[in-house]
């Protein structure tokens, strides 16, 4: 093992160089990805002459036809609404369960949580999204159909499937946030004669709020970007969502179903890339939000 000093130094420099190269590679890959998706995504506006406003607020999606102005009818509002709809609704379904379960495993029964519940939930994290799609098709859609009527395909079913899917993420992060509250805070509260529930409501939850918000945003980001599980149960009708029970579509579901059918360079294909660009921008917005929440949380301390 005894290397001479010069060869040691050479090895050190080589190691530093190669590992630095790996980091550089990752950075370059990410920049290339962002650049390529952006450059394809803006073709709708630069080459096909669709105004950004009419793309974002147009209510009709029919890229094969042109409107009276000679522009393709590519209103993305139905998909944008669909995406935000399933994201918010699935979060609303999942959050109470994630919060309740986290409080239980952190405050009430930590051993049960560590030994049994959290490993079980971690297992759920590994379930592939297509399997959630199958669960949606074989359990959620028939269930929605018989309880709420309609075809069963739509925003409600998709939100339930997504709620199942994002639950592990939200629950793990929320539980971490609660665990991070120092025990001295709890002791102080108990010392004043507060019950456990009072301690949770008035001490633990307010302290952990930034972490809980982060967990919620991470869950939302996952729901917003999920493609296949949603595509399998939402019905994929590119129309303005009129109710939670009628077939609708999201940005991801339309990209998934149409990308394979439209040749590169056509208007239809360009618009699909614009939808992908919205997804990209939104996923960055979610990160930004997480950072803002994190910074606010640390400045409060």
């Amino acid at each position: 093992m005894a290397l001479s000093t010069t060869s040691k130094r050479r090895l050190e420099r080589r190691g530093q160089f190669i590992s630095g190269l790996a980091v550089l590679l990752v950075v370059v890959l990410v920049c290339t990805l962002i650049f390529m998706v952006c450059s394809r995504g803006i073709a709708t506006f630069t080459r096909d002459g669709v105004p950004l406003g009419s793309f974002l607020t147009g209510r009709t999606w029919n890229p094969h036809q042109s409107n009276e102005l000679g522009q393709p009818t590519v209103g993305a509002l139905p998909m944008v609404l669909g995406s935000f709809g399933v994201t918010l609704l699935s979060c609303a379904f999942s959050l109470p369960f994630a919060l309740g379960a986290s409080i239980f495993v952190v405050e009430v029964a930590p051993t049960f949580g560590r030994k049994f519940f959290r490993p079980l939930v971690e297992l759920l994290t590994g379930i592939p999204s297509v399997v959630f799609g199958v669960i949606g098709l074989t359990m959620v859609v028939p269930w929605t159909r018989s309880w709420a009527g309609g075809t069963g395909y739509g925003i409600l079913s998709s939100s339930i499937v997504l709620a199942l899917m994002i639950f592990p993420t939200m629950m793990s992060l929320t539980a971490d946030a609660l665990s991070a509250v120092p025990d001295s805070y709890r002791d102080g509260s108990y010392g004043l004669g507060c019950t456990r529930w009072q301690t949770v409501c008035h001490v633990v939850l307010p302290t952990a709020l930034p972490g809980i918000l982060t967990a919620t945003i991470m869950g939302m980001a996952r729901a917003f970007g999920e493609a296949l599980a949603v595509q399998m149960v939402i019905g994929n009708a590119a129309q303005m969502p009129s109710s939670l029970l009628t077939p609708a579509s999201t940005l991801t579901s339309i990209i998934t179903t149409s990308m394979g059918n439209e040749a590169m360079g056509t208007v239809y294909n360009d618009v699909l890339w614009s939808l992908a660009l919205i997804l990209l921008i939104m996923s960055m917005a979610f990160i930004l939000l997480v950072h803002l929440v994190g910074r606010k949380g640390s400045s409060n301390d």
Partner: protein, 305 residues
Amino acid sequence: MTDPTGVRSPKAARTKDRAATAVLAAIVFAIVVMLVVVVGHVVASGAGKLVDLSFLSGKPEQFKAGGGIGPEIFNSFYLLLLTLLISLPISLLAAVFLTQYLPEGPVARVAKTAIETLSSLPSIVVGLFGMLAFVLSAGWGFSILSGALALTMFNLPILVRVIQQALEAVPRTQRDAALALGLTRWEATTMILIPVAMPAIVTGVIISAGRVFGEAAALIYTAGQSAPTLDFLNFDLSSTSCPWNVMRPAETLAVHIWKINSEGVVPDLSAVSAGTAAVLMVCILAFNVIARLVGRALERRMTAA
């Protein structure tokens, strides 16, 4: 003066506390039931196919009933192997650089932002980029190579974070002792830190392998949606029936599930879908169990030594 807790007497507070505990326990109970029902449903509805050898080894059918998933099983494992071969060295080196050479500063911030961006990207966007960059621009077509590279993009941020955490969890004193004895940072990393962090790294890699194994959105437009019949005696690497040919299209288990459910016309569609989902679930559960066992075994060996 109003009581800030909104509760008037200690007795009321105690009742409220008990009620809250009961509600929380009910929520947890409901979740456990839901979990068991959902996972049980997936495995149970495909259980018949799970032990059916002709299903596990047979080739898929386009129009008739009775198709199998033999090539899909092979493709899934082969793609996973290639993905790990590409992404593991890159992420190990990147994690070493980020933890040992450059833990702070503007460059580290850029790198961390890039990795965070990559990890938050929807996998369908990664798949679209893969289609653009590998399938079309590089001209590799729908192929295992394109698919493995797309999966690498998807896997890199996960692996870098896992390995980084494993390296950071090694006590600082170990590194300081190694440096004080005259080892260079590279030597300290390769001879001390990585061996010590090995159990955590291996566990993390296996768990990330489970995620790669079940990924479909990044693959439908990169590795393609067709599974050519494979001939395991064919070693002509340019033939599409050669299993090891990286330039052939390869549908994986996850993609197969998606495809038959959205475009399939076979009469036994729901049985094939349920069977494939069950196989996929069992593999993922196996990855999780193996990760835990291997991690624990390595840990024991390292600490006993």
